[in-house]
């Protein structure tokens, strides 16, 4: 398996040089530097810590050069009569500057090229483009969701004049256009950069978006009779540099400058797209893709992006609950855990079975595994979650951490689980722990059968058919409410960090399991995820040499060290 998953629909990667080692000399704002040949000027300048503002250019889309914001002054080496560059006192080529500015996004660097990103001409070009973009812009920042992360706002401050010379009437265009299931378009805000059009034609290839009319009256629209509804449509909201495309889910909900950002991963399928969680005051407001070329490039699917509202479900389990006289009552954590421990002590380890979850983190699974080993519990499995999947990012594995569960020896692909109904009915299985919010009723064990158990302990964040019959319910934390790591279907170890606190008394599951272990078997406390990693790295061969810190924001590829049978899946 290759180091990187290939993203077949990503047509371009302009930010990656063809050959990073094939270097040429270029002069950027007076300083000679070495840069990979052919890299475009916007990217080369970026590497030289010089920002060339741009709207239409996106490193993952074709280059069309329509916004003209990236104009720069270009020079080529002066040639002598011998057709060789004339060298200056510094031994570097003398540069002949072209009178006409060039676009940085479509110009690849060549040996001896001169680049000016800050000259009076360049400033005038940017100033001109800013003025042009603003004359027909509605300037409704006060009610625009993009405000605060709008390139038009940012570049106006940076490169504009702050006043308008335009006294004519502005062009009127459609507003509040229902472009699709999840997206609203404001054509007056659109700066016609065509990023969304190119996304639709090049990445998702449904080719639904386009422009109609000419000149300043040009208008973005969906093909007549079609809706912009593909499974990745919300990525256009991210790449739209202005507030023209807004997400129905997020619009008018929260000012972006109030959002606290945390680095996370999507846990809605086995791909584990890297995301940024935007939250405020304990509430998640949005997920946006975080670039990771080895996983999701700059994209994520709409399903994963919007699959966080369950965190605020009013049914959320907020307190430990214990069952008495057929009813659940809130209990302090100590009481609930004691009740669970008591129930487990009454049965033989061989009569205990655990339903772990491939939605749990490696850390949670590790704490569980250690405790099971100490206790001598061997019956364990996970619940499979097969999905449709697609050719792009969505995995056919609906579980985000199947590989991690396999790695820790806690998953048997649901094969064992399928026999447990019979075991319970036969009285051979007396205690069941169902973790990570799994629902064994949905997985095929009838509730009536579960009722025969001496003790059923369930951890979950939302009630389900299993929790309904459980003796003890332990409220857990959702992906945004905890920290941990997972291994995606491609064998990449990735971590995520807690963004908000779980509601009420709910807790991260590794803490729940740690405390349960302390009560049942005793043992040293683990105080942090870092602590868990210290043990994991010594016990799990694949994690040898790794630590929480070393996973980093982009994850670690484990394919070379993963056991064969895990890789084969």
């Amino acid at each position: 398996m290759s180091n990187c998953i290939s993203i077949p629909m990503n047509p371009w990667n302009h930010d990656v040089a063809k050959d990073e080692k094939d270097l040429v000399d270029v002069q950027i704002d007076g300083v000679w530097l070495q840069m990979p040949r052919g890299l475009n000027v916007v990217e080369a300048a970026h590497r030289a810590k010089k920002f060339i503002p741009h709207y239409c250019y996106h490193p993952k889309l074709s280059v069309v050069g329509n916004c003209r914001m990236c104009l720069f002054e270009m020079g080529t080496p002066k040639m002598g009569p011998d057709r060789k560059p004339i060298l200056g006192a510094d031994g570097k080529p003398e540069i002949a500057w072209m009178p006409r500015p060039q676009i940085g996004c479509a110009t690849g660097i060549t040996p001896g090229m001169g680049i000016r990103t800050d000259s009076p001409l360049v400033k005038d070009c940017r100033n001109g483009v800013m003025e042009f973009l603003l004359i027909n812009h509605p300037l409704d920042c006060t009610i625009c969701d993009q405000a605060g992360e709008c390139k038009l706002q940012e570049f106006s401050v940076e490169y504009g004049t702050g006043e308008s010379r335009f006294v004519e009437n502005k062009v009127k265009k459609p507003k509040n256009v229902d472009l699709g299931e999840r997206i609203v378009l404001d054509d007056e805000r659109c700066i016609l950069c065509s990023r969304c059009v190119r996304f639709s034609s090049e990445v998702t290839k449904d080719n639904v978006l386009g422009f109609v009319n000419r000149g300043s009256y040009s208008t973005l629209t969906a093909y007549p009779g079609k809706r912009f509804d593909n499974d990745y449509s919300l990525n256009t909201v991210d790449i739209c540099p202005v507030g023209a495309l807004t997400s129905k889910d997020f619009r008018f909900q929260m000012r972006v400058w109030f959002l606290k950002e945390s680095k996370s991963i999507c846990t809605s399928c086995g791909t584990g797209c890297n995301v940024t969680i935007g939250s405020r005051e304990g509430k998640v407001h949005r997920l946006t893709p975080r670039e990771n070329e080895a996983v999701n490039s700059a994209w994520m699917c709409d399903y994963g992006r919007l699959n966080f509202h369950y965190l605020e479900d009013k049914e959320r389990l907020q307190n430990p609950l214990t069952k008495a006289a057929g009813e659940h009552f809130p209990a302090p954590w100590g009481d609930a855990l004691n009740r669970a421990a008591e129930g487990l002590r009454k049965v033989q380890p061989s009569e205990i079975a655990v339903v772990a979850s491939a939605r749990m983190t490696n850390e949670e699974l590790f704490v569980l595994k250690r405790w099971m080993d100490e206790l001598g519990v061997t019956l364990v499995d996970t619940v499979n979650r097969p999905e449709q999947g697609d050719q792009f990012l969505r995995s056919a594995d609906g579980n985000p951490n199947t590989r991690g569960a396999e790695l820790l020896g806690l998953s048997h692909g649901g094969r064992k689980l399928s026999t447990w109904g019979g075991e319970i009915a036969a009285g051979r299985m007396k205690a069941l722990l169902v973790l990570g919010g799994e629902d064994v009723v949905a997985a095929g064990i009838p509730a009536a059968c579960l009722a025969q158990l001496e003790i059923l302990i369930a951890s979950a964040i939302l009630p389900n058919a299993t929790t309904r019959v459980a003796h003890v319910i332990l409220p857990g934390a959702g992906f945004a409410e905890k920290s941990g790591s997972m291994v995606n279907v491609h064998g990449r170890l990735q971590r995520f960090s807690r963004s908000i606190a779980p509601p009420g008394q709910a807790r991260e599951e590794w803490m729940i399991l740690r405390d349960l272990r302390e009560i049942v078997t005793g043992g040293n406390s683990l105080h942090s995820i870092e602590d868990i990693w210290k043990s994991m790295a010594t016990v799990i061969p694949v994690f040898a040499g790794l630590s929480w810190g070393k996973i980093g924001d982009q994850g670690v590829d484990l394919t070379h060290s993963l056991p064969a049978e895990a890789t084969a899946k």
């Binding site: 003209r68 500015p101 042009f132 004359i135 009256y217």
Partner: protein
């Protein structure tokens, strides 16, 4: 002094009894040059075209031989396409339509020769949609040529195959810009492509090497093959060879289309002798010499032009407007261009504010809308100019207009940006007092600060 035309391209056009069917064309020697060309071979034709110093007649005046030399049929593995640009939409230009309507086979013969020379097996004739009749004429002429064995498989038993398809535009000026044309031909919006990397010779139609030439240019190829490149280059002046079709419109006694060797006559001779002078006994005020995009020239102007003297030394010569030679280099030296050959003459009754507002209205309507400076700037120019023309000008408007135009030209994807900016820059530069006067006269209205709501 009589100024008799030198009709090469227009030789048979309007000649009594000349019809556009293939029989008539052949009776006048039609398709004989094709036979000659097929016998010469492609490389030899290319050599003759290079020697002829023919420059493109579509507007930019780019040397055709050089354009063709960017493509080497012997080395190219992809198909090579040739497109005849018959979009003729530059205001003031009406020469290509004469050829299409009255002598279509001349164009087709020129096209076949050019295709043969460049190893082209499939060519397109992109015609503006407004030429409805012209389209039918071309379709019929192509069918005739095919029936006669000049098109299709194994042309005249030479082993060379060629198909030519006519494609109709949908009514947009920008479809005349060669890369916009190519996009349109591919079935997309005519958004001009960025160059680099999409030079037609490298990444043209369907990303294959492509030659785009104007109707008149391709007709010239036929005559070059006929008389040889050297003989052709003797017509006109060095670097400005061959004849030029001139379309004169506006305030002259005899507007129309004329053909002269490049630079053989002056602007003054064209207006006052050939076209019978200014109408109604008025005086010349201004002339746009190469289609509406070209910079305007003002009567009474004197230009400093570098020219070679009899010893071949470069010397400065002062040339009056009337003495400007009608060729590429002289008009460029005067700060304008020969462009598409559309000469628009304005007399002293013309209001320059309104003329410019009219021109800008055209460009605001035709900007494709792809790139920011042109899309937003050109409509802005039009709005200011309409407002000024309607009597709501402000003192700052001329400077603003100039500034907006300056920020369009040279910063856009295609040359439309210049085409729209040049008229504004030149009208304002040369008729400044007229704009100021207009604004001052309407000062009272402007002071009321009521900006017209009609535009």
């Amino acid at each position: 002094m009589a100024f008799s035309e030198h009709r090469l391209i227009f030789k048979n056009i309007d000649a009594p009894g000349y019809t556009r069917d293939i029989a008539c064309y052949q009776k006048h020697g039609g398709y004989e040059i094709l036979k000659k060309g097929l016998a010469m071979g492609g490389p030899a034709i290319r050599e003759e075209v290079k020697k002829s110093q023919l420059r493109g007649r579509g507007g930019a005046g780019f040397p055709t031989g050089t354009k063709w030399s960017f493509i080497d049929p012997a080395k190219t593995t992809k198909p090579i396409y040739l497109i005849c640009n018959a979009d003729e939409s530059e205001p003031g230009t009406f020469k290509d339509r004469q050829i299409i309507y009255k002598d279509p086979h001349q164009l087709i013969e020129g096209m076949i020769l050019s295709c043969f020379a460049n190893g082209v097996k499939l060519a397109y004739l992109y015609i503006r949609c407004e030429f409805t009749e012209g389209w039918k004429i071309l379709e019929k002429a192509l069918a005739e040529a095919k029936a006669a064995g000049f098109l299709g498989k194994n042309i005249l038993q030479s082993g060379y195959d060629l198909e030519i398809h006519v494609h109709r535009g949908a009514g947009a000026y920008i479809c005349g810009e060669e890369t916009g044309l190519i996009e349109s031909l591919e079935g997309k919006r005519a958004y001009p492509r960025i160059k680099p990397p999409y030079f037609p010779a490298v990444l043209g139609l369907y990303m294959c090497p492509t030659i785009v030439n104007n109707v008149e240019t391709l007709c010239n190829v036929k005559h070059i093959v006929e008389m040889g490149g050297d003989a052709y280059a003797k017509i006109g002046r060095p670097n400005n060879t061959g004849t030029r079709l001139l379309c004169v419109s506006g305030d002259v006694v005899k507007p129309g289309y004329y053909e002269f060797p490049c630079g053989a006559i002056t602007l003054g001779q064209l207006i006052f002798n050939v076209c019978g002078g200014i109408r109604n006994g008025r005086r010349l005020k201004a002339v746009i010499p190469g289609g509406s995009s070209a910079k305007v020239l003002r009567a009474g102007e004197v230009y400093k032009i570098k020219e070679k003297d009899s010893q071949g030394n470069l010397v400065d010569r002062e040339v009056k407007l009337e003495d400007l030679r009608m060729d590429f280099d002289s008009l460029a030296a005067a700060g304008s261009m020969a462009g598409s050959g559309g000469v628009i003459v304005m007399d002293d009754t013309r209001d320059m504010v309104e003329c410019l507002a009219n021109i800008s209205t055209f460009y605001a309507h035709e900007s494709c809308g792809q790139c920011t400076p042109c899309r937003e700037g050109v409509l802005w120019l039009k709005k200011i100019l309409s407002r000024v023309a309607e009597g709501h000008g402000r003192d700052e408007d001329p400077a603003l207009l100039k500034d907006v135009a300056d920020r369009i030209a040279g910063r856009t994807i295609c040359a439309f940006g210049e085409a729209a900016a040049w008229p504004v820059q030149s009208f304002l530069g040369k008729f400044k007092e007229e704009f100021q006067l207009r604004i001052r006269r309407n000062g009272a209205a402007a002071k009321r600060d009521t900006i017209s709501l009609t535009h």
